[in-house]
């Protein structure tokens, strides 16, 4: 294989600790403990190596990255390396002093999550209390610190009908961008799929709302939105292609091609404690496993779209077919596609079951 192009972005998952317990949490089922997290000096080295490798942006994420007391130091260090710094936060536990300190450290952008525009829904979908009020206050603090803001919302059957209100909220919060994400069904979200799956009619209505809002708010608010996989006919180029644009360093230093890659059995992930990032990016078996097109089965291997979608999502292929090598069932050419669509329709039509929340406060 040729040398892979350098990655564009590093997702730095600083911790799995989080004050929320969202029923669609994308972190692994087994969370890492605080005692095992990388220390500040090691993260400094990871940032140095990432910049050296050609990374342009670093996303500080978690869990809740605000829990790390060295967050400002990491942002400042990344800034000195010329990296564009983004904070992905729930906003829980933010103070005005902390927001100011983040801005002072040179943070380029903050992405704040909001689970619902309805107070009861926000608490239910975050597994927490007073979520809407706290996040509204956090948005104001980030704006007061003059930090550019994206509002991120994960949508599902319980909040998709509030999309219009979410767009208004993004404007009221002073966000320049709204990211409308759909739940991705692996890990914890897969357990709650029946409680989260929207109907086709909800999706169609949401698409209409976004299409109209993009015209109405052109030059004011950018809206990122894609149709969710269960109702799509083509797979998404997950992570812009496995091992092509992104790398993810988890709280204990494992380097992953995507944040859900640990769900795939048989992959061995190397650790920044043991090897340089550049060597892991270029040579590790996990990154090369699904990189490019040589690994693809039929009909992907001879498909004209293979270098657009890069075979879609490996974690989803595994979750739905039992085989991480299979064609992503989001593709209409997958033998599992019809079954995926039927599953979505059946689950969305049935009454929503109760959420299963993470217990024990670790999440």
């Amino acid at each position: 294989m040729n040398q892979p192009a350098p990655p564009l972005a590093l997702l730095a998952e600083l911790t799995h600790r989080c004050p929320l317990a969202c029923p669609y949490c994308s972190n692994p089922l087994n969370l890492e403990l605080a005692a095992n997290e990388l220390d500040t000096a090691t993260w400094f080295r990871v940032l140095d190596e990432a910049a050296g490798l050609g990374v342009l942006q670093v996303h500080f994420s978690g869990g809740e990255p605000l829990i790390r007391k060295d967050l400002e130091a990491l942002i400042r260090h990344a800034g000195t390396l010329g990296l564009y710094t983004n904070l992905i936060t729930s906003g829980m536990g933010l103070s005005q002093a902390r927001a100011n300190a983040l801005a002072q450290a040179g943070l380029d952008h903050a992405q704040l999550s909001l689970q619902d525009t309805d107070a009861a829904g926000a608490d239910q979908f975050a597994g927490s209390k007073d979520t809407l009020a706290k996040k509204t206050a956090s948005a104001a603090m980030l704006c007061a610190a003059d930090l550019p803001l994206t509002l991120n919302t994960v949508m599902h059957r319980g909040n998709l009908d509030h999309l219009e209100a979410m767009i208004e909220t993004a404007l009221r919060f002073g966000a320049g961008r709204l990211e409308v994400a759909h739940v991705q069904y692996y890990g914890w979200a897969l357990r709650n799929r029946a409680a989260l799956m929207p109907t086709r009619a909800q999706i169609d209505h949401a698409t209409e709302i976004v299409t109209a809002a993009r015209v109405r708010l052109s030059g004011r608010l950018v809206i990122d939105y894609v149709v969710p996989d269960y109702y799509a006919s083509r797979p998404k180029p997950c992570m812009g292609g496995w091992g092509q644009r992104f790398l993810n360093v988890d709280p204990v230093g494992r380097v992953l091609p995507c944040h859900a890659a640990t769900t795939i059995p048989g992959l061995v992930f190397e650790n920044v404690r043991e090897k340089p990032l550049a060597e892991i990016w270029k040579d590790s078996a996990a990154f090369n496993r699904f990189r490019g097109t040589a690994w693809m089965p039929e009909p992907c291997r001879n498909c004209e779209h293979k270098e657009q979608d890069w075979g879609g999502c490996r974690c989803q292929a595994l979750a739905l077919t039992g085989d991480a090598n299979a064609t992503d069932p989001a593709c209409a050419l997958s033998p599992h596609h019809a079954e995926m669509f039927t599953t979505a329709q059946t689950e969305a039509a049935a009454p929503a079951p109760e959420f299963i929340y993470r217990r024990g406060g670790g999440a």
Binding site: P6, L8, A9, G54, L56, Q57, H59, G82, Y84, N86, D108, H109, Q111, P148, T150, E168, L171, R172, G174, G176, R177, E179, V215, R216, L217, S218, G219, R220, L221, V222, D224
Partner: protein
């Protein structure tokens, strides 16, 4: 910012600037000018880089095009058409504001 926001469009009197959170830089590894924005990287060709580097929120599109017409010894109407097209796309995708 209120909920009654309306769309905005570039005209000759607009004074565009990079949107908040958007940074222009030259990347040594790729030998390339680019815009970094939240979750997005946009590679810039030479012309786009020249135009955007002058979008300081003070200079109008009209003044900017007059400047470029002089420097590149090209008709202002042609320059203005190209500049407006670039800026309209940049505004819609959130890289600049007016």
């Amino acid at each position: 910012m209120g909920g009654r926001a309306m769309s905005r469009a570039v005209d000759a009197t607009s004074c565009p600037r990079l949107a908040r959170g958007v940074k222009m830089r030259f990347d040594g590894a790729r030998q390339q000018w680019m815009l970094n924005a939240p979750e997005r990287v946009l590679l810039l060709d030479e012309i786009a880089q020249i135009i955007l580097s002058r979008c300081d929120g003070v200079v109008s599109v009209d003044a900017l095009c007059r400047e470029l017409a002089l420097e590149f010894a090209a008709p202002q109407e042609i320059i203005q058409a190209d500049v407006m097209e670039l800026l309209a796309g940049m505004l819609h995708s959130g890289f600049i504001r007016i």
